[in-house]
Symmetry: C2
Subunit: 208 residues, 2 copies
Amino acid sequence: MSGSVPATGRPKDRILGTARSLFRKCGIRGTGVDAIAESAGTNKMTLYRHFQSKDALIVACLEDAARDAEELWRTVEASAPGEPRKQLDTWIRLVEAGLHHDRGCEFSNAAVELPEACSVVRDTIASFKRTQRERLAGICRDAGIREADRLADTLGLMVEGARVSRQASGDEGPSSRFADCARMAIDHFALQGSPGIANAPAENQPAE
Amino acid sequence: MSGSVPATGRPKDRILGTARSLFRKCGIRGTGVDAIAESAGTNKMTLYRHFQSKDALIVACLEDAARDAEELWRTVEASAPGEPRKQLDTWIRLVEAGLHHDRGCEFSNAAVELPEACSVVRDTIASFKRTQRERLAGICRDAGIREADRLADTLGLMVEGARVSRQASGDEGPSSRFADCARMAIDHFALQGSPGIANAPAENQPAE
DNA sequence: CCTTGAAGTGACAGGTCGGTAACATTCCGT
DNA sequence: ACGGAATGTTACCGACCTGTCACTTCAAGG
């Protein structure tokens, strides 16, 4: 009893969802498997039947979070198909909204919390970050930004910083200015030269 | 035996130094007080005679780190007295150098690792972050940047992001572009308008 | 009906955690 | 040389940790 998640769906799904939620709230090291099982309305044995170890559960949670991130990119794309500049706007708005709901990036938090994690965990984190970096750089390229990679890294550093800064300084800290700073960076890089709009050749705009 | 820190100085200092070093390497939750005492070449009882609890030891470590940060600002100031623009350059170089040596910011890491920490720990973190923000904004103001606070927050988000990004993505990730992005932001804000024109004089230099 | 397999239960191993008590020893200023 | 303070040693506590055990319940499907 006292599970914070109603007993709907299969135990495996409840365990996964509960684990993610508790990891976010209390941290990974601050959450024991007992607490996860009980909070999921099940028991430890069932947890271990579905997940080989706590590490495996952590990886499963991260993979789940990665699926959410993929969905976010789909939302971004759908918000303005074929208009990458507007997609960047959407991205900023979604990231900013996420700042207030979540306790930072689950992957970055895991990297900080588990500096000596097993290789599979660290690989999952690094691989996810590579994917996100490429997704963002892709939109920047599509937007005709000349130094797309550099802009993507600038934005990447800012969002990473905003998410961790909020945990250290709260909502009133520097993270409150993320959207502001991000838009300014985009404008700066766009002025710097965007083939399709200002000057220079648009090599390969993906038709549309 | 097997203390990684030679038994020089008073036990209290050795404990503090060892704790900081272990917290950095293994994380706070990943480091037990037994390990700290042994690695400091002393024992748990002596540790508890000098520090009321592990939380108190954590706070002491953070205060020690804050002293280091103060020294960094002094170095920045001394690198180019009365030339805030050059001080910003120094700051970037020092931060970048620190990226490769440390495992991120001890305060931010603590905030991520201890989402449910006692209030004194969280206050120490938040207060430190406020101080750093103000230090950086102060130099930006002295440099005659019109939107000094905004630039300070932009740089603050970037450095915070670089430090956490390195832990998740390694040295080849976005953190490798921190100096690049930071200098670009400074140039952008400087062009945007500085009361005394392009780069020059901080208006009210206390004669020196 | 009976079989099968997933899920639930309580107990427990083996270990580490933060923290304490009682006592022995060493150091150092006077 | 003395005495008090600082330090070291050993043992211990209760709580929590991950992970495993044997066993029970129960519902679906043939």
